[in-house]
């Protein structure tokens, strides 16, 4: 993908949230997106047409993360009320609430089969919840982190968590190993490359670090943006050619994956960019910000 194909034109502005939008995520096919924010709501949008479809209200405090299953039938969300909500997308009802975290829950993800929700948060634990059974107790609690866990990623066989203690820990279920990569800097967000071979970690020293997952080697560092005090997402483009991340001044950065040069940088929001999410197939991206908007970017 050449640089010119980066999504830099604002296609739509999704307005509706009051207050900061904390996360915005495409669904698996990229036709819809979800956003959640300080106003305790989760909103479902069609970003391509700029339409607000549905609002999910039940959280008692801000919603920090949301994830949707592959078949778009269920949602999970988490937030400041220390609970994980398991929603039915179409009816907008809460199917189940998982309580057990002792602190705010920062991140939540479904596994591939949507049978397990993995959540993590301020209580330093990573918890796996069962969606199949009616048990509201976690299946497993992983508490080897020593500080707040900010972000979690799942592959088919692994659970990966990034924490403020500077480690990215991979829990491989298949072989029963925990691999800890200490980055030395608080990790704000982790995201997997599309080939699942690398982890991109957004550290609080305003640096994105790309790790090789098999060796734990630091492949590249991406700098230039400001990320010092807010939880901000980062991601790779769908072709894995570029790395993108927001900045605390409201701009969006694109780096070349290989030579780490800033390929593109533009001002997208008036305030902190909290989240970026790249379309799984097209050259399209959504960003959310504290300025209560979600913006859709296309080439």
């Amino acid at each position: 993908m050449s640089t010119s194909e980066l999504p830099r034109k604002e296609a739509n502005v999704l307005k509706g949230h009051e207050g900061a939008v904390l996360a915005a995520r495409f669904n698996s096919d990229g036709n819809y997106c979800l956003s959640c924010g300080k106003d305790r709501t989760i909103r479902l949008w069609n970003p391509h047409r700029g339409i607000h479809i549905k609002t999910y209200k039940s959280h008692g405090r801000e919603v920090r993360d949301v994830h949707v299953t592959l078949d778009n039938s269920k949602l999970c969300s988490c937030g400041g009320d220390r609970q994980i909500f398991y929603w039915d997308v179409s009816t907008g009802r809460v199917i189940r609430k998982f309580r057990g975290h002792d602190g705010e829950v920062n991140a939540v993800k479904f596994n591939e089969y949507a049978s397990v929700v993995v959540s993590t948060g301020y209580d330093r634990s990573l918890r796996a919840w069962d969606c199949r059974s009616h048990s509201t107790e976690p299946i497993q609690i992983i508490d080897s982190f020593s500080d707040t866990v900010m972000s979690v990623c799942l592959t088919k066989t692994e659970i990966i968590g990034g924490s403020v203690d500077g480690t990215v820990r991979t829990f491989d279920i298949r072989i029963g190993r925990e691999i800890s990569d200490d980055l030395g800097q608080p990790v704000n967000c982790i995201s997997l490359s599309n080939d699942n071979n690398c982890i991109l970690a957004n550290c609080l020293d305003s640096t994105l670090r790309l790790l090789d997952r098999s060796t734990g080697e630091l492949l590249q560092e991406y700098k230039g943006h400001a990320c010092k005090s807010y939880k901000m997402d980062c991601c790779l483009t769908n072709s894995d050619a570029h790395v993108t991340c927001g900045s605390e001044d409201g701009s969006i950065f694109f780096w070349d994956l290989v030579d780490a040069s800033v390929v593109s940088k533009f001002r997208a929001h008036s305030s902190v960019v909290t989240s970026v999410s790249y379309h799984p197939k097209d050259n399209c991206m959504i960003t959310s910000s504290v300025d209560s908007t979600v913006r859709v970017w296309k080439t």
Partner: protein, 1002 residues
């Protein structure tokens, strides 16, 4: 026909026929000519112009009108049907009065109403009329000027003589003539105020016709009565305030909430003028939130508490809105004033501004106020005043400044003694005379301290003391000169200590410092060892002693740290160079530095001239472990320390996914059918909190490993790693042992040491050295302990090592448990998931059991941790002996030693998961404290949590013993095992002993 009528006599009234109409008409015409007027009234008929008779008698039809007695149309009175279609719309009929008038009435109306110019005495018509008149007259009169006079020249008088007179008297058009000032003034004022308010909301550009609204009444009154300016106010000025809303006339939506009126108006005007200023400051209003930092729009429920997380972290650092509005208000006010006639004096302008600022919403400024602002001149400062505060009672040290210097004395030959003297002197200077007395008393027998009581080196001591005082005085003076009020205001004891260059006291005894002199003494003791080094010794740090020479930046920070630590004086606020470091990293680094510094200092103190880099690094690594945690220690071996700074580091651990998780992920459980993996030691924080525990935990676990024949090679590797860890841990412990008050008192530290050496049967040389170097510290600590113990009134165990009970514990594992497997399952259940080491020993656990255990773990959180009672027992020596007895009875004869209760306590506390968990949670905030403080706080927490869980614990333990089959088996086995148990009456004691044994076995 007429002749016929003459001839016949007619009786009655003939019924008229239609045919007779013509004749009737003729007749009517004839009558109209006038001759019929003479007829008597009853004979007269009313006829219309056509000669038709319109009025009939009551029996002949009444009133008839028009077309067949209709209104003149064929259809008569039938109403007009209203039709209106889209194509053919019915036009709206404009009706006038003429629609309803008859022709005659119309004719009558014609010309009667109309303006007559004769009556138009004012305005143009009058003038015109006058001119015409003049014209007419002009024509008739001969004139000097031929031709018509130009209109411009001759004009009629426009003003009456009365007006002229009034004007001469000073009256102007548009003013009232009345003299009653008060009422008019009031009206004017009211109107003006109204106008002003309206004006504020309206566009400022509109010319303001009114008079000054803001002028104060009193100033107004003060002006001369015949002042032109002032008299102009007499007439109220009306400001048109167009109605722009949709409310009914006279309806005031803000009637009961006047404070919103301003807001609304402000809002509107803001919208009109500056679109971007949307925000209205509601700071002052009732609904403004108190904190002001809450996220906009989202309150929280009434039952939820509002804590730090609810603050709007995304909000801007400062309040834009407020400043914006304030800026907004000022100019508008000023602009109004500037629009006003310039007569308004500056003074009154200021007054207005000052007044309106303080007005509360819903109130208005009093128009008359008796209050007069009285101004006083500032007091005159005496010429000789020096703006520095002199403390009436100077510090003790400062007082001694004028003490003459004692004679120069050469330092004693023994540099060791010299160091000691210097240290004591420094300490005495800092802590006061009391310390000197104390230490003198305490060290009477110690020949090393003979200099205190006039022995060897006393002169030198005196000299040093004086010097120190001098130095301290200088510092104090310096700080007095240099420092100023801002910091002085909030100077705490700590700040003062910093100022005086004291080393911050260890936090471990923070709570006790103020309360008991004993702990204070301890404090001093601690500081004593701290001050036994030359301040300048670190300035010329040898190359070998640079522990962080791999990282120049860090080394630099380390040196800075040393400087700050030992030189005293004013400290910099932080590592300026390390400002980019995170708080956590800084804290960790600080711990590292502390450790390294201590190591360095020990090297000096122990008179080991050359400290090898190797051992130094090793020690540093050990210390680092205490702060950093277990994971770090794994690779902070001497060699790895070199590459320590390189990130990212990768480590691998064993991790066991639970079977359910594997199932849900559709994977095969890698541990299916296998015994549970050797557990990883707990996370950093835990090891930070419970260093001694982890040592203990690690040990039996290791034993278990040796006893078990777990095939995995990795276990062996881990074992070695753990062995290495242990060494380091022990070292670390030794280093910081004297710091921890509680530990020093209640734990038999050497016990563990000996235990470990016995276990391993390996004497590592480094450790030996370390032990040697720390003996003195220990000596001092022990010394202190003795005294403290005396004061608290119980026996302190002698420092001699206890005989190990390790053999016992391992023996227990092997010995009588024929049904070990089952018993162990019970053990696992009892302890829950958190006591990882114990779980590790359950060799025969199958996955299902583990699951159940996992699901039980939340319940287990409330399982007893016995330290409740023990910690309370610690306070009296009696209970100690009791528990000792219990132990003696409980243990098989092979057990030669009575473990001190405290060590047991710790044992339990480490195994009781709930407490661990809680205290960990609780102490999360303190995690950046130094390790010793963590230790202390954790033990503190433990005690704090005890009462809460006590009752529950008892119950749960009891019910478990009754309900669980396996457990009861275990129970039976136990009772077989220790028959002496029946001697103890209390059930509690039983479960306790069971627990104890279980623990040991593990």
């Amino acid at each position: 026909m007429d002749s016929d009528e003459e001839d016949y006599v007619f009786l009655g009234t003939p019924i008229e026929r239609e045919e007779e109409i013509t004749s009737r008409r003729k007749k009517a015409a004839a009558e109209a000519s006038g001759n019929l007027r003479s007829l008597p009234p009853w004979k007269q008929e009313v006829r219309d112009e056509e000669g038709r008779r319109r009025f009939h008698g009551a029996f002949t039809g009444g009133f008839s009108a028009g077309y067949f007695n209709t209104v003149g149309t064929k259809e008569g009175w039938a109403p007009q049907s209203f039709t209106s279609s889209r194509k053919n719309r019915a036009e709206v009929k404009q009706q006038s009065i003429f629609n309803f008038l008859d022709e005659d009435e119309k004719a009558e109306l014609e010309g009667t109403l109309g303006t007559s110019s004769q009556f138009d005495t004012f305005g143009f018509t009058a003038a015109e009329f006058a001119r015409k008149q003049a014209d007419k007259e002009q024509k008739q009169r001969p004139s000097a000027i031929p031709g018509p006079v130009p209109d411009e020249l001759v004009l009629p008088a426009s003003e009456s003589i009365g007006v002229k007179l009034l004007l001469k008297m000073g009256w102007r058009h548009g003013r009232a003539i009345k003299d009653s000032r008060a009422s008019s003034l009031y009206d004017a004022h009211k109107e003006a105020r109204k106008a002003f308010l309206a004006f504020a909301s309206e566009d400022v550009k509109a010319p303001y016709p009114a008079n000054e609204p803001d002028e104060e009444p009193e100033s107004f009154m003060a002006q001369p009565v015949d002042n032109d300016t002032q008299s102009s106010k007499s007439l109220p000025a009306f400001v048109c305030n167009p109605k722009q809303d949709l409310h009914g006339l006279g309806y005031d939506p803000f009637k009961h909430a006047p404070e919103f009126r301003e807001k609304k108006r402000l809002h509107l005007s803001n919208d009109k003028q500056h679109g971007y200023r949307k925000a209205i400051s509601i700071k002052d209003s009732l609904f403004g939130s108190k904190s002001g930092k809450a996220a906009p729009g989202f309150g929280i429920g009434a039952l939820e508490e509002y804590d730090a997380e609810d603050e709007d972290i995304y909000g801007a650092g400062y309040d834009f809105e407020e400043t914006c509005v304030e800026e907004d208000e000022e100019p508008s006010k000023l602009s109004i004033e500037s629009k006003q006639p310039s007569r308004l004096s500056i003074e009154s302008k200021q007054k207005v501004v000052a007044k309106d600022e303080g007005v509360l919403p819903g109130f208005k400024v009093a128009s008359v106020s008796d209050y007069q602002l009285e101004r006083f001149d500032p007091p005159i400062i005496p010429k000789d005043f020096i703006p520095h505060h002199k403390f009436p009672g100077p510090l003790e040290t400062l007082k001694k400044l004028d003490v003459p210097s004692p004679p120069e004395v050469p330092p004693p030959d023994d540099s060791n003694l010299k160091l000691l003297i210097e240290g004591v002197a420094k300490l005495v200077t800092r802590c006061g005379k009391l310390f000197e007395d104390l230490s003198r008393k305490k060290n009477q027998s110690n020949p090393l301290f003979s200099f205190l009581s006039g022995g060897d080196g006393h002169d030198y001591y005196e000299k040093r003391l004086w010097e120190e005082h001098q130095k301290l005085g200088d510092q104090a003076k310096l700080s007095l000169d240099g420092k100023h009020s801002p910091s002085a205001q909030k100077m705490t004891a700590e700040g003062r200590g910093k100022l005086l260059g004291e080393k911050p006291l260890g936090r471990s005894s923070k709570e006790t410092t103020s309360s008991s002199i004993a702990s204070r003494e301890f404090q001093l003791q601690f500081n004593l060892s701290d001050t036994f080094k030359k301040p300048d010794s670190f300035n010329k740090l040898p190359e070998v002693a640079k522990p962080f020479k791999n990282d120049p930046a860090k080394q630099e920070r380390f040196e800075q740290f040393l400087k700050e630590k030992y030189e005293g004086g004013l400290r910099s606020t932080g590592y300026s160079s390390a400002s980019n470091m995170s708080e956590a990293a800084r804290a960790r680094e600080k711990l590292d530095f502390e450790a390294a510094a201590e190591v360095l200092e020990k090297g000096k103190w122990g008179k080991e001239s050359m400290v090898s880099t190797q051992s130094l690094d090793f020690l540093a690594a050990g210390m680092q472990f205490t702060s950093g945690g277990l994971e770090q220690v794994k690779d902070t071996h001497a060699e790895e320390l070199v590459t320590k700074e390189k990130y990212p580091r990768r480590e691998e651990f064993q991790w066991r996914p639970l079977p359910v998780l594997c199932k849900r992920f559709d994977l095969i459980d890698p541990f299916m059918g296998k015994p549970p993996p050797a557990p990883r030691a707990r996370s950093k924080i835990d090891s930070l909190l419970f260093i001694p525990d982890s040592v203990k935990d690690a040990k039996p676990e290791e034993d278990a490993i040796t006893n078990r024949d777990v095939p995995a090679a990795q276990t062996g590797a881990q074992k070695t790693i753990e062995a290495a860890e242990e060494e380091i841990e022990i070292v670390a412990e030794n280093v910081e042992r004297p710091v921890d008050l509680y530990k020093a008192i209640f734990s038999d530290d050497s016990d563990e040491d000996v235990e470990d050496t016995n276990t391993k049967k390996v004497e590592d040389p480094e450790k030996k050295i370390e032990v040697a170097t720390t003996t003195l510290n220990r000596l001092i600590a022990g010394d202190f302990l003795e005294s403290l113990g005396k004061e608290l009134g119980f026996e302190v165990p002698p420092d001699t090592p206890y005989s190990t009970n390790k053999a016992n514990s391992s023996a227990q594992i092997e010995t009588p448990n024929s049904d070990a497997g089952i018993a162990k399952v019970g053990t696992v259940e009892g302890h829950g998931t958190f006591c990882a080491p114990n779980v590790g020993t359950g060799t025969s656990l199958n996955p299902e059991q583990e699951t159940t255990q996992g699901s039980e773990s939340p319940k287990n959180e409330s399982i007893p941790g016995k330290p409740v009672r023990y910690s309370s027992k610690h306070t009296d020596g009696l209970s100690e002996s009791i528990s000792g007895k219990v132990n003696a009875e409980k243990f098989p004869p092979g057990d030669k030693k009575v473990r001190s209760p405290s060590s047991r306590r710790r044992n339990w506390s480490s195994s009781s998961s709930s407490e661990d968990e809680r205290s960990r949670k609780h102490s999360r905030r303190h995690r950046y404290r130094s390790s010793d403080s963590n230790n202390d706080s954790s033990s503190d927490d433990r005690e704090r949590y005890h009462p809460r869980s006590k009752g529950k614990r008892k119950r749960s333990s009891r019910e478990k013993s009754s309900s669980s089959r396996k457990h009861s088996k275990h129970h039976k086995h136990r009772s077989r095992d220790s028959p002496s148990r029946s001697h103890h009456g209390s059930e509690r004691e039983h479960s306790e002993s069971r627990k104890e044994k279980r623990k040991r076995r593990n």
